[in-house]
């Protein structure tokens, strides 16, 4: 494939949507279910197999599916192009911040039992802490994979 054809392929992929109505209808039906499964995997990560990483990859897969089928321009409404890198930073910050918060409150790093939230017994506190950690991991993994995709397309 020479340079010109490659540019045409890339431009068509980034800007123009795929015109097949079958693909459109399938993607529109599929993406919300993938995102619901991703959220389920995240929220049930500490009861059942799953967790932050798998949930994040599922969410990223749904958005990459949108990017591949609708094109980069039409999928900006779901996940803008500039958002993934700051979201990854926020995710890492949530992870590290939860750990440091517990450390400041008297425990060791990531010791959720010491989180200074009043009115909660230690078991609930640990539940909340692991949810915060998983939230950070989910955000970080999701936005990193989306930004790898965007970066490979040169945008």
């Amino acid at each position: 494939m020479n340079e010109v054809t490659r540019d045409i392929v890339l431009r068509r992929h980034m800007e123009g949507p795929i015109v097949s109505p079958i693909v459109h209808v399938c993607i529109r039906g599929l993406v919300p279910f993938i995102q619901i499964v991703g959220l389920y995997v995240y929220f049930h990560g500490h009861y059942s197999p799953g967790g932050g990483f798998q949930g994040g990859v599922l969410m990223a897969a749904s958005i990459i599916l949108l990017r591949m089928s609708l094109g980069l321009a039409d999928s900006q409404a779901v996940m803008p192009n500039r958002l993934p890198i700051p979201l990854a930073a926020v995710g890492a910050l949530i992870y590290a911040g939860t750990g440091l918060f517990a450390m400041v409150a008297g425990g060791s790093y990531l010791d959720y039992g010491f989180l200074p939230i009043p009115g909660l017994e230690p078991a609930m506190l640990r539940n909340l802490g692991i949810l915060m950690i998983e939230l950070g991991v989910t955000l970080c993994v999701m936005s990193t994979i989306i930004s790898i995709y965007d970066n490979l397309l040169g945008s």
């Binding site: 995997v41 197999p49 990483f53 599922l58 591949m68 994979i145 790898i148 490979l152």
Partner: protein, 82 residues
């Protein structure tokens, strides 16, 4: 019914998928075959009792790696040179 029959079947499909993916000239078909390989490996891990590892393998191997391979094909060429 033999207890290890299902593992034999899964391993056979796994090895056949890996060999086919190595031999294919059409790289898009090779990516699809690699997805089959990944799914079979996830099934073997379910059979071995490691549900969490199997989940990760299925999500990453069939989802993320497949997409990135397809992108690499889109950026380079569709056919294998050698």
């Amino acid at each position: 019914m033999l207890p290890w029959l299902i593992e034999i079947i899964l391993f056979t499909v796994l090895i056949v998928a890996a060999l086919v993916a190595l031999g294919l000239r059409n790289l898009l078909a090779a990516v699809v075959t690699l997805s089959i390989f990944s799914f079979m490996s996830a099934s073997i891990m379910v059979k071995l009792g490691a549900i969490d590892v199997a989940f990760t393998e299925a999500v990453v191997g069939a989802g993320a790696v497949g997409v990135i391979n397809i992108l690499a094909i889109l950026l380079t060429s569709r056919k294998s040179a050698d």
